[in-house]
Amino acid sequence: MHKYEIAVLNALKEHGWSTEAKLASLCKLGAAEVSWALEGLKTKGMIQIEYEKVASIKVNPEGAEYADKGLPEERLIATLAKRPLRVSELDESEKIGLQWAKKLGLVSISGGSVLLTTQGKEKAGTELKAGTVLKKLASGNYAKETAAREKETISDLSRRGLIELSERNAIKSIRLTAAGEAQQSEDSGGEYVGAIDRSIIATGSWEGKKFKRYDVNVNVERRAPAMRHPLKIAISSIKDAYLSMGFKEVSGPAVESSFWVFDSLFVPQDHPARDAQDTFYVSNVKQDLQESEEYIRRVKKAHGKGWHSKWNADTASQMLLRTHTTSVSSRYLYKIVSELSKNPDKYELPIKLFSVGRVFRNEAIDYRHLADFYQSDGLIIGKNLTLSNLFDELTKIYDFVGLKIRFKPSYFPFVEPGVEFSAYSDKHKEWIELGGAGMLREEITGVNRKKLSVLAWGPGIDRILLIKDPSISSVSELYNNELGWIRSRRLV
């Protein structure tokens, strides 16, 4: 007999059966060890166990969130008590709330507006029954008897997927058999081998004995593997796509001058994208333009010709958080073109570069809007590159990550022709825009296209997962950092 079995048997002899937890504490063993020992004692015919079915209730993450913030219908009627809402302006959670509130007769819809009923007005701001029960369940202090009383509410919550109901076998009572009573309180060797230890293997003492069996259906705790973040995994896979196509990775600053983010890319100085409304300007880093006078003159000239307005160096020197990673491409483009103009053999053409990095928007953040997120940028510098080459490269890169894409004309100040590409999402039943692309203007490269042409594109990363992963419903979900969410992720 194993020492755990001896301990458990002795405890049963001395104190009788009450609960597994009690037994565990008497034996100074863990719940798993006790349950294992009981199995062993049962197999050896020393005890008889009587089982009963016990309902167990587990609150799901969504349920836990509602227990914390209130049910969608509770929140909806609380909002409605303050102001009426149009059906069309409801967000996802409010839509769910609407469905339940309607069922409960708390709201009615009239002419596209959601209105509180008399009953709804009474309940606004209070906890609904389902909410009260859910809260108790989530906090864990919920007696069995109450569970029986609130049966209906509980089955409602289960149907909504907020809680999980299951039944498990629990021990009702344990009785010692005659063999058990007669068993000596010491290990007599026995004919079964329990837990394997070093000495059993070294001495071969298991020989001639049977191995104790495990119940393969026993409940164990599922281990949550430590994992890389889903977004970082997605970034790795897009990087693999670029690598497979022969691109070299480059990077550049996130805190950048307007010059590299906008001016070098031929974005006019009065362009709305440059408004502080949309862009984060840095208040405590200031520096003059670092670039060569010749280059600055060239940019100024291009703006004058293209936009017919004065170009201001102070505007260009303002520091900001980059709004796209195309600023990285711009820096490398300038460096490479300058080097090539001094030494045409410096690089073998075409040169393929990519970067992945964080970009920023001055947004009022909520669950749908993020103020910083990832973007990638691709760049090919070569001779006689064509729009059809651009289509080929992008088609292959996205094929690597499993998306079929299509192209249509679009406009960005830095490319001509300009392209927008999108992928069809079976999940959304529509084409989802992935990003912009095109052939960089000569105003940016500073070189006639006869000598050098440059293909460029700058798609987001997150939309790839939005389309591919059935469990993701909005881009901002990918930036979720709740441990429970990451622990419940599956591979896609």
Binding site: K239, V255, N284, S309, G382, K408, P409, R487
Partner: protein, 550 residues
Amino acid sequence: MPVIQIDKKYLYGLVGASIDDKKLADQLSKLGFEVESADKDHVSVEITANRLDLLDAVGLARTLKNFMHVSKRFHYEIEDAKPAIEIEVDRSVRKVRPYISSLVAYNLDISDESLTNMINFTEKFCETYGRDRRKIAMGFHDLDRIKPPIRYASSSDSSFIPLGGSKEYLFSDILKNHEKGMRYGSIIRDADMCYYPALSDAEGVMAFIPILNSERTKVTTNTRNLFVDITGTSEFAVNKTCDLLAASFMDLGADVKKVRIKYQSKNIDTPLLEKRYISIPIERMEREIGVAIGFNNIISLANKMGYEAGAVGKKITFRLPEYRLDIIDDQDVIEDIAIGYGYEYINPTPIYYFQPGRLDESTVKNLQLSDIMVGLGFCELVNSYLTNENDNFSKALIPEAQNAIRMKGSKTEYITMLRTWLIPSLLKDLSASLNEKTPQNVFEIDMAFRIKDGAAVESYKLAGVSIDPRANFNSMKSVVEGLLFAAGIKYELSEYSHNSFIEGRCASIAEKGKTIGFLGELHPKVLKNFGIEEPGTGFEIDLESFYSKR
């Protein structure tokens, strides 16, 4: 990008043919514009920021007619060169709003629909291309109610009856009290406060520029002859806008006449409607698009896109449509040929290429470190770079550093600066995961920011936090030692003092005598500040020394 709503019946009337919704969406998509929504009577279209000549039904109809081969019209000319009226420009506007252009349109049949269309167009155009009237503003007047001579000048405060009003107001009152004055007043207030730019005729003020027109000269459905003024800060933009409007009025069947603008230094007659040509070798177009389109085909594609075109030797000469504001040079024309050809018909062509790809060294190293951390049982998190003083400093009990990079004009108080370290981000995440099973082991590898010698410094950091009832200094030390050993770093630990950690349970990590990080037991107050009530430990390492060249 601007979205316009168009009355379908009005549009089809202008095109001269009815188009079903699906076909319309398809044709617009081929041109690069997205139909956002459509109902029985209206269609909403997103127009790209370059094609502001398409901000109304008239412009859209003009382009669709050529594109769908319904009918052709390539240019817009005024045969009668004699100006119908004159505007004298006083030098006093030079500092405020120096440029003006104008046209008159006779025999216009203004219906309710076209009036609505005209007003919507003006508003959208002045908002977008006109940068909210700062760069361009325009006004429509009933020509028959104007008594020449017309003068554009800055004057001292005067009064007039504003559009929609019944009594006189002073300019200064309008700036203070009228909705339009409050909204657009800053455009002229920046420049000069004592003088108000205005357009006047013999009877008085016609318009307080660029804010409000007068009631006296307003346009109604009875108006037959129209006077248009366009003012702004860019002579090019003012004149091109006038060309665009001229084309639109001609499309509506009006008889458009020029207006003489008498500047101090020169006279010009607007709309200029200058003939502009661009010649491009066929070979260049085919080389850039990557398709052998062929000589004849290019000319018909040019027509489809609204250009008159002809061959001269191996070049095609394009006459640029007068209403286009966006064509800078041949690159823009080549794009139009590609659009005319159809992006969906351009076959992807491979680039002949044989070089291996390569990852940035930091990417490779960071991935290796992530693998080690996952192996040590830590889950990876990805946090925002953006934070605020409270989260980054106060909650962690460290003093606010002056060298944090701060932003101005943020829309939310939660975003005021770039994070200087990672541990607060992780603690914030864990405060949202209180119900999860312990141990909660998390890490992040990403950027933190600071200012050094006046310049922004961005560096990769690796931070880990463990929330665990059994967490203590030694348990985290064993993690950090495992990590540093596997990463091949020769390190030394020494006693260290850091406000976020318990005194006497904190160590610095040094490599070759240089401190690269720290680890320790998080102070109970810090944990509590983040809403965590279990013991916690953490470490953070600067990764810059891990990379050989950066």
